[in-house]
Symmetry: C2
Subunit: 409 residues, 2 copies
Amino acid sequence: MGSKARDSARVLASLDPATKNEALFAMAGELDARVEPILAANAGDMQDARDEGISGSLLDRLALSADRVGVIANGLRKVAGLPDPIGSLTGGWVLTNGIHLQRIRVPLGVVAVIYEARPNVTADAAGLCFKSGNAAILRGSSYTLRSNNAIADALRDALEALGLPADAVQLMQDTSREGATALMQAKDWIDLLVPRGGPGLIAAIEELATVPFVIDGAGNCHVYVDASADLEMAADIAFNAKTHRPGVCNAAEKLLVHGDVAAEFLPVIAERLVSFGVELRGDAETRAVLPGIALATEDDWPTEYLDLIMAIKVVPSLDAALDHIRAYSTGHTEAIVTGDLMAADRFVRETDSAVVMVNASTRFTDGEEFGFGAEIGISTQKLHVRGPMGLEALTTEKYVLHGKGQIRS
Amino acid sequence: MGSKARDSARVLASLDPATKNEALFAMAGELDARVEPILAANAGDMQDARDEGISGSLLDRLALSADRVGVIANGLRKVAGLPDPIGSLTGGWVLTNGIHLQRIRVPLGVVAVIYEARPNVTADAAGLCFKSGNAAILRGSSYTLRSNNAIADALRDALEALGLPADAVQLMQDTSREGATALMQAKDWIDLLVPRGGPGLIAAIEELATVPFVIDGAGNCHVYVDASADLEMAADIAFNAKTHRPGVCNAAEKLLVHGDVAAEFLPVIAERLVSFGVELRGDAETRAVLPGIALATEDDWPTEYLDLIMAIKVVPSLDAALDHIRAYSTGHTEAIVTGDLMAADRFVRETDSAVVMVNASTRFTDGEEFGFGAEIGISTQKLHVRGPMGLEALTTEKYVLHGKGQIRS
């Protein structure tokens, strides 16, 4: 697979944008044309999953419908409409000796994606890799192998019909743990590995991978309500950050409240959160105001709940809030609600996270919201790319120097 | 050391450029003031090295002199004069909901540097890390521990005298292999590891490191002389690329010559190279023109000699040259000499290396030549940074979003 991907990547690297966009539309058309076989394959996956006793939200993530296939196809058309990052100049100047230097955005080569459950990732990831000129090696879960194959076959056939290499999109048939490990260690063949899955997958990659990877890590996101905050705004932001979609990485897990406003603010936000079904846990000072809630323990502060749970701490100062965030943040997103310019500036400067919000919900850490048009994940690492990852995250740069015979003296 | 580095990094991150530059000048002044103790420490290192039977170029790399210390001090003053990368905006736009987004360059935090022999790296690396707002953990070799300590003490004392954290520059006293491994695996404390050393060090990092690192890898650089090349220019470039400094990574190791010009070009370049003391090895077609040289074997093509050796291959076409480079390049630098625009364009597009030269010597792949003012290495990896690494390679980015209470709906 690696060698086929490399050969395809060479072809992809020199395709012009129009050809790539035409292919993305053809892939979308092929998905639309094959709704029935795709749904039949999915029905087989679903039946097996039920037979294995899978139910609830995981089963829901496996399920496709005609509507969902239509959304997946339209996702490819949307990617076609995004600006093509390949070939764009990211810098250029003339060396003192007259050599003209250009720095040019180029594809990485071969991008591997390991993902869980959702079959839509097969098309989403293939589309983003293709648009950025990369061959894709996709490794989904065993539960969706038939659905993934039905989707990947449609994409591959669409490429082939246009005379383009079908192996630009390859789906691994080996969905074993050993297969995933082999992919994580295929150093000669993979230029970037992108995981889309839970903490178990991330931990396995951190332990086993020898290929370069980008970590789409945990979000133990904080909202800090400063003494100078507009408390109505603070309640709206904290409520939205916690409840809008509690299962995703940019949801807030912790609420820090300045002592000066705790007595006034806590009852208001607690009522809204509890009414929505959020379980609150608080430190001693929080419980002095909200005696009905459980005591937060040392286990709470570093934890990403991904659930309707929020831990609250009263802090005596901005410094104490910053210290707490430094100690427990996963470096994803933190928000301050404040009317104080100096407090906002210090929070922005002294918080070492991918994204810092001033008077806005943590939920805005998102490729679509940032205007990237599509997102392959959110990086919590500092190298290569940090924060929401769009098409540019799937590229690297190359220096091209044009001389007229210059030699070094 | 990790915890002290983290604490120092927090202070460094918010220093303004003038304060950092003042500190760099103070460090330089302290080195100048301590030439005698530094040379005394170095004399001890040199004596031990001689006692251990070390001689030749390694001993030369250990040696300091009053002049060399002066050069090291001036290097710090030069870094002070470079533009400060921290705080610069790398992007900014307004989201559809009115949130103002800024992408800002920030320090990585703690940068570790593992290096061999040359004590000047102690000051060079410390200066680049400091200027980019990072705390440095430096791990030199046992041969230069006394020299490195004398230099690091001068830098630390200069910082302390200004009320800045001395632990912004820390030198590891443990120069054992186990110490290096511990540093490579200090995941909670190190944001970036930069190796400055030979293939053994790089291989150890690729095998053992769990911290993020940048590989300053091998340069098996090619010069391809196209059928349309100005042969005088081609000889100048090939000669310069091979002989100007044969022991460095941007020196050319391989010469590919188009068959149409082989008979005319090979005798000319061979005479110049052999006169300079270069050992030539050639494929069968090269030896048909240059019968006196040895036959190149399959071992030659992937090898970085770092020596006065060059292997030559006659290729029937640009495609054959590109195929050979794809098969054996380490992705550092390749050069084409040509008068044919289409050949130049294809070579640029289809060569997957950090730097591609058209009608210029491979020796120009260099941070100083590129105008970065200083270089911490040359990356042959595709993630984070590719090619010569200046101050920006020691930074990451952070998104700052300013709202007025926006929540996600």
